[in-house]
Symmetry: C2
Amino acid sequence: MESFEIIAEPNRRAILTLLVSSQQSVGEIERQLRMSQPTVSKHLRVLREAGFVESKVDAQRRLYRLKPEPLQEVDAWLAPFRRFWSAHLDALERHLDRMDQSTSTKRKTKRRPRGPNRKPNKGETK
Amino acid sequence: MESFEIIAEPNRRAILTLLVSSQQSVGEIERQLRMSQPTVSKHLRVLREAGFVESKVDAQRRLYRLKPEPLQEVDAWLAPFRRFWSAHLDALERHLDRMDQSTSTKRKTKRRPRGPNRKPNKGETK
DNA sequence: TCTAAATATACCTTGACACGTATATACTCT
DNA sequence: AGAGTATATACGTGTCAAGGTATATTTAGA
């Protein structure tokens, strides 16, 4: 399974979040997140095979702890978008600046001739 | 559908990546990503309803462009993990520093500047 | 008004996966 | 060795999402 699918599952995200603070045994995770033991074990297996966590044996217990790499990949995928929304903020600022100097100006040129409107879909801007 | 599930789908991630550079019509996305037109439209619908993109009408076309908020939420979820792996890097550095002292080896590559009570910089990824 | 282009949607099928229950495995302690 | 604890796995089941094909909707242009 692939990194983005792994963190698509809410229980797995919860487990990862738990493990940020410190390593935990299966039973501790089970109790804190109120999931069944097989469910926890199965999610941990998925996380382990994808490199999100690693385990070490401690008597009958297994202690699971985070490994950084897969989440760093996710983080890396986000990088271009971070640049995008920074640029977006800049554009908003420039726009507000223009509003400042042209608040009394009315737009007189229509962008393009339009026929009868169709019904807009949700999230569609006119 | 929820943000993490949305970006779990590879074609949707590809669409989002395409839209970082500029807005695109459905047909343009279809051709660049070699997906069928219904597939593109259906993914765009999912993305639109989740707020990842918005569309505006341009004659028979619809131009889709990115909206930042949902990916910013994903980014926010990652924040604690970034602190986690920064801490790991710091620990590694301290370890290497101790190695330095005990071996008197000269280091060839520079490390990050460090000081007492060092705090990570905003948006620091490394 | 007819046709072609661009996009959206309906319906169907298929596969993946998350969970529960039951059971297996591994380790500790007496 | 036997009992108890902690964890892993096997199996069956229901759900849901992704893609394909076919069709509907909207618009430009002749």
